[in-house]
């Protein structure tokens, strides 16, 4: 499953960041997930629960997800529009010379550490 693989990458990156900052306990990980990134947030948090609890550093930690709305830019009329609502075709001028501005993110935004650690 896609989301479990992604969770393993997140855990690897969080471990690395924790080591760099000399942190031994993480209570939360905040993710920016694009609306059209193909990640299903509920699956991601389910996989997180299963995998994170196996790690001392991350036991009981919460995965918090910010959804980043997808926005497409039209090269023809230089405007922006909601991707999910209108798809590839610009609702203003009908052009298909459009590209995704944001909404494809799978990004670790920050980690939260209890102050005593």
């Amino acid at each position: 499953m896609h989301e479990l693989g992604i969770v393993f990458y997140i855990i690897r990156d969080v471990k690395q960041a924790a080591a760099e900052h000399g942190v031994s306990k993480v209570s939360g990980v905040v993710m920016d997930i694009g609306e059209v990134s193909t990640i299903v947030p509920e699956y991601l948090t389910d996989c997180w629960r299963w995998a994170a609890d196996k790690e001392e550093l991350l036991k009981g930690s919460e995965l918090k997800i910010n959804i980043i709305p997808a926005v497409t830019y039209c090269d023809e009329c230089k405007s922006e529009y909601e991707t999910v609502r209108h798809g590839r075709k610009c609702p203003r001028c009908g052009s298909e010379r459009t590209w995704l501005l944001r909404g494809n993110e799978v990004e670790i935004k920050s980690i939260e550490v209890p102050e005593t650690y």
């Binding site: 193909t38 298909e96 670790i108 920050s110 550490v113």
Partner: protein, 224 residues
Amino acid sequence: MDNIKVIEIKKSVFEDNEIDAENLRKELKAKGVYLLNLMSSPGAGKTTTLIRTINLIKDKLRVAVMEADIDSDVDAVKIKEATGIQSIQLHTGGMCHLDAEMTRQGIDNLDLAGVDLVILENVGNLVCPAEFDTGAARNAMILSVPEGDDKPLKYPLMFSVCDLVVINKIDVQPYFDFDIEKCKSYIKMRNPNAEVIPICAKTGQGVEALAEWLIRQVKLWKNQ
């Protein structure tokens, strides 16, 4: 309750893979080994197409194959029996795609002496493999007629990362309303530079064009 300290990270989960992939690509370039990443839905005809194509090119290029499968090793055995070339199995451990690190482990298990071309048969899936750069020189995919000509619209990322789209199973076209020209125009919307080669892997029809494409690619890449 403890106070919480926030550490900003701001890092894409794909970032490390992209670095690994770039490193692998450079190493393979230095060794003169062209890696092709072949993707498709399950059952589109990757293994059948590989067998046909390899039998046409194996006198001109030294080829090796890596078969990514979630569990079994039937494809690796099939390739070895039907073509006689070096073929190994990569187990993905339940993953839906291969990343650059897993690809490297496969490469390390191959005997690369004299090898010009390594073909990676990725896990059958149109979503995940497209998101993970394997370190290949080029990506190719196979779309089979029964899947429908609208797939480039539904899986845009896959089609935008592929330099070659093979349309397979054209023998069954009369039974499906698959329009090759329409499909080509959808592919061009995602990737104006993609080449499209229609074939029937079952009979071998059109496979010469695919063999020529591969030979030309490897030659161009070696000289660049």
